[in-house]
């Protein structure tokens, strides 16, 4: 495993590697040694945690290397550094990307269908009417319901992340003493 960890350390920026490379490798070696006697599942979990940690760390350090200290706020995963300012929910970005991909795919399919139609391409013969049974209709309905559910869940998740829902539930009428910050 140490060879894999050593290889993954090369994904970090050279300056970072010079500062922490040997030290990290020593820690990884100790972690690896500590899990040696454990069950294979425990070892696999530990290895997975270390590999994903190194990949995540390398990505963040490369981003910091390119964009500076502010770079991490552009690509911050998880709650490593909580910030008080508004952050655009990543779930919304993912959802928007999925919708955009869906629209592009639909346009592409529509173009393909248009080209296959007889009036657009005289070489193509008449389209045979397809037998439409109940099963495809049911499957289509199920798929549409699942898609609707996923989209609704995405919207609710995005709202929860952005705090809109929590703000709407906040009871501002009660008179709690304001938060006194320590000196």
């Amino acid at each position: 495993m140490l060879a894999i960890y050593r290889a993954l350390l090369y994904l970090y920026p050279p300056r970072y590697r010079t500062h922490y490379g040997e030290e990290m490798l020593a820690v990884l070696s100790e972690v690896d040694g500590a899990t040696n006697g454990n069950k294979p599942l425990v070892r696999a979990r530990s290895c997975f945690r270390e590999v994903t940690g190194l990949l995540n760390g390398a990505f963040h350090e490369q981003v910091r290397n390119i964009f500076g200290a502010k770079g991490n706020s552009l690509f911050s995963f998880g709650r490593f550094s909580m910030r008080s300012e508004f952050r655009f929910p990543k779930a919304t970005v993912t959802l928007m990307c999925l919708i955009l991909a869906g629209v592009l795919l639909t346009i592409d399919k529509a173009k393909a269908i248009q080209h296959s139609l007889p009036y657009a391409n005289p070489q193509v013969g008449p389209i045979e009417p397809e037998q439409f049974t109940l099963l495809p209709l049911l499957l289509l309905t199920l798929a549409a319901a699942c898609l609707g559910g996923v989209i609704a869940w995405g919207i609710v998740f995005a709202m929860r992340r952005s705090g809109v829902q929590r703000l709407s539930e906040l009871d501002l009428t009660t008179s709690d003493s304001p938060t006194k910050l320590p000196n």
Binding site: E22, M24, L25, G53
Partner: protein, 115 residues
């Protein structure tokens, strides 16, 4: 809307890994693996940081001046100890105050709701 009145509060609240690292260094200087072990012990195995996450956090804390490298007699095999600076101690104290207040407020509200 959060109103920030103290420059020490600007970086609060801390994330759980950062808080755990600072707590792990609160009583004595520790090197990387010892910090991981201490966090594991403190959280009773609930928080298990990877080495990559730990050093990412240590790097930022060093840059911000919250912790510093500490020369130990045994710094063989690349071992390097870290300890809290005065600034780090102050930040940790502020976070503890903040959490205390939050817990007190939450307890009051929950008790009021249960009546």
């Amino acid at each position: 809307m959060r109103h920030v009145t103290d420059k020490h509060i600007e970086s609060l609240p801390l994330s759980e890994p950062v808080l755990m690292i600072l707590l792990g260094l609160a009583d004595q200087p520790r090197h990387g693996y010892a910090i991981l072990q201490e966090i594991d012990k403190m959280s009773q195995g609930r928080v298990q940081l990877s080495t990559g996450t730990l050093y990412g956090a240590l790097h930022r804390l060093l840059e911000d001046g919250w912790i510093e490298r500490f020369s130990e007699n045994d710094n063989s095999r690349g071992k390097q100890a870290y300890r809290l600076t005065q600034l780090g101690h102050r930040k940790l104290q502020h976070e503890v105050h903040r959490l205390k207040h939050l817990t007190r407020l939450a307890s009051t509200r929950v008790a009021r709701g249960a009546v």
